[in-house]
């Protein structure tokens, strides 16, 4: 149809360059400069990263790392970006760390584990950052942890779900599900169902093939420890369906049809992101209303707006209601986060699970540095191993005997009257809230 009259590489080159520049510039509203550049322009970087800096003009402490600013993890990573930025801003307003302002400019790992590892290698060995903060997501955290271990850096992280995998002595997780997530987490859910006074007799499992949800469902690969499914059977509940689906499933109709055919009392969905929302839409489309349902790690905003989501259970570490917000500080943090999230254009602005574990990771890092009184990685590590840290998700006492895990601090929440409220354990439940099934 067209005759090529000669190669026009200039246009192709221009277009390619434009594409790269546009992609790079639009990946984040914040400037994603390298950590070295941020450190080099000390005063400028400090001013750019904070609203008010300490009166000291000393060189800032640079925290390096990455986040999934683009890619399939970006929707949730955006929450961690807001939480991290707010934490650093708050820290600097109160005098910084060791009397010095803190700079954190995460680079974009594009949700790719290899990319994350390369970034951490670079920021540590080339840019010479003082500290590091883990990225978002199991894959990227796992990949970067190997670099942290090789370089001997303290590695706080907030969202790695394969707890049994991590053996690095100086990794400090604030994903508080414990070393036996596959056992403790489902049982917290099941305890809540028992507390309702109307526990299920039949249960169906719909599990994303994502390693974290598979771990919860079945236990570590090659292990007979079991998980959510076997724990349900131990309680005498009849497993009427067991459906595993690929990550990124777009056609939920067959899965919905299979659930409707099985008609369980309770559906345990090993969901990430919008799996739960899509499933509820598909169930509603075939006229099926689940009697009880649970979603492991959902995007809360879309789930709240999904049809028949009332009564859905999930897990959390913090919710913006009493007793979590009884104290002034967490209440202020919660409100500040909501404001910052709204400004960042995030639709669901509640300070809940993801934001709280992110905040806790920063609290751990800062506590370690302040406790050690220095930026020496081994001293920070030793301090954290030997001391408790008070965080927004609770008191954390890293136990080397449990690969630095410390038990399961998960709470169970439920959608009641269109809002997520914690219902179990009772000491953390919203006033008057109980599990309803």
């Amino acid at each position: 149809m067209r005759r090529e009259r000669g190669i026009v590489p200039r246009f192709l080159i221009l277009l390619a360059v434009f594409a790269l520049v546009a992609a790079a510039c639009s990946s984040s509203d914040d400037t994603t400069t390298t950590a070295a550049a941020a450190a080099a322009t000390t005063t400028t970087a400090a001013e750019a990263a904070t609203t008010t800096t300490s009166e000291s003009s000393s060189e800032p402490i640079v925290v390096g790392g990455s986040l999934a600013l683009t890619g399939f993890l970006a929707p949730t990573a955006a929450i961690h970006k807001v939480a991290g930025d707010l934490f650093v801003e708050t820290l600097n307003e109160s005098g910084g760390l060791l009397g010095r302002p803190v700079v954190w400019e995460p680079l974009d790992d594009e949700s790719v584990p290899d990319q994350a590892a390369a970034i951490y290698e670079r920021v540590i060995s080339e840019d010479g950052v003082d500290l590091i903060m883990g990225p978002y997501g199991t894959g990227t955290i796992t990949a970067a942890m190997a670099v942290a271990e090789r370089e001997g850096f303290v590695y706080p992280h907030h969202t790695a779900s394969l707890t049994y995998v991590y053996t690095y002595a100086c990794h400090f997780p604030t994903w508080p599900t414990g070393i036996e997530t596959n056992i403790t987490n489902p049982n917290l859910v099941y305890d809540a169902l028992e507390e309702s006074g109307n526990p299920p007799e039949t249960i169906a499992f719909v599990m994303n093939e994502f390693p974290g949800t598979q771990y919860i469902g079945y236990g570590p690969p090659g292990s007979d420890a079991g998980g959510a499914i076997s724990e349900a059977e131990k309680r005498g509940w009849d497993v009427v369906a067991e459906i595993n689906f690929p990550t990124g499933t777009s056609d939920w109709a067959p899965i919905a049809a299979e659930i409707a055919a099985a008609d369980p009392d309770f559906i345990y969905v090993g969901a990430i992101g919008v799996d739960g929302t899509n499933l509820l839409v598909a169930l509603d489309a075939i006229g099926y209303v689940p009697r009880g349902h649970f979603y492991q790690w959902p995007a809360p905003g879309p789930l709240l707006g999904a049809p028949n989501s009332e009564g859905a259970f999930s897990v959390t570490t913090f919710e913006p209601h009493s007793p979590f917000t009884d104290a002034a500080e967490p209440a202020a943090i919660s409100e500040a986060f909501s404001t910052a999230a709204a400004a960042a254009g995030i639709p669901y602005t509640a300070f809940e699970a993801q934001a709280s574990v992110s905040w806790a990771a920063w609290q751990v890092l800062i506590a370690g540095v302040e406790g050690a009184g220095s930026l020496d990685q081994q001293e920070i590590c030793d301090w954290l191993i030997n001391n408790e840290v008070e965080t927004i998700i609770g008191t954390i006492d890293f136990d080397p005997a449990q690969q630095n895990y410390y038990g399961d601090l998960t709470k169970i929440k439920q959608i009641q009257n269109g809002q997520f409220v914690v219902v179990s354990p009772s000491e953390f439940a919203a006033p008057g809230a109980e599990p309803q099934l």
Binding site: M1, R2, R3, E4, R5, G6, V8, F11, L12, L15, A16, F18, A19, A22, A23, S26, S27, L69, T70, F72, A74, P75, A77, A78, S111, E209, I243, N244, F245, P246, G248, T249, S250, D251, A253, P254, I255, A257, E258, A261, G273, V274, T277, N278, L280, V281, D284, A285, I286, G287, A299, G301, P302, G305, P307, A344, G345, I346, P347, Y348
Partner: protein, 291 residues
Amino acid sequence: MDVDLLAQAAVSGLLIGGLYATMAMGISLSWGALKIINLAHFTFILLGAYLTYQLTTTFGIDPFLMIVVVFPLFFVAGALLQVFFEWAKVDEFRSLLISFGLFIIFTSLVRTVWTADFRRISSEDNPYASASIFIGGVALQVPLIAAFIAAVVIAVGTSLALSHTHFGRAVRAVVQDAEMARAFGIDPRRVAVILSGLATAYSGLAGVFIAMFQVLSPTMTFAWFGIVFSVVILGGLGSPYGALGAGIIVGVVAGVASVVWGPLSAPLVTFLLLIAALLFRPSGLFRRSPA
């Protein structure tokens, strides 16, 4: 195996196959007739979805009415894109590179405007998300019915246009020999511009239907690549009926496989079918259209 379950899976697969066909139609036409492998079509689908989300959410426009907004708008966009391709003298291979660059640019644009977070039209603004028509015990989801009907209309309309109209004869002439067609007074560039406009409009239309029943995120395009290219290749390049037939086959096979062997088997079965079909019919299962 529950017969009702199989029936539901097959019917749902049939309807979502219509959506796959609508998504693939634009690329099939572009690749088959224009010799342009336009990866930007995926972002046109995405843009169609986000535009539907935004206008519906902001102005309360019925999502179905977005069809009359998106179709002409994206026709113009596609026409302008082809003007650019003509001006840059883009051939088949370079179209892959350039359109990939456009794909990156447009995806970044979506992320910049709407952030990386999930977006979903509220139930108040979109009563169709899980609305269904029941025939026997089988549910037919309204957005997917609409997508299926659209796919049939597009396939029939495009095929008839290509075979029974002057424009269609012009397209076929240009595809066979552009210079000879030009000698007979046909302007290949004008033909290409119109065809590109149509192809892009089809992609935008697919986005409207997707916004009606799915949660949107800028990275959702990556999940479409395998399915859409399977439909395009299985149906035969440039064949509207081929895209429709292939979409239905892919949808039904994936749906039935999901309930028979589990959802994890669906991609495996679908791509095995693709490989097997191409071994015996390299040009696609269905005859290519006259274009």
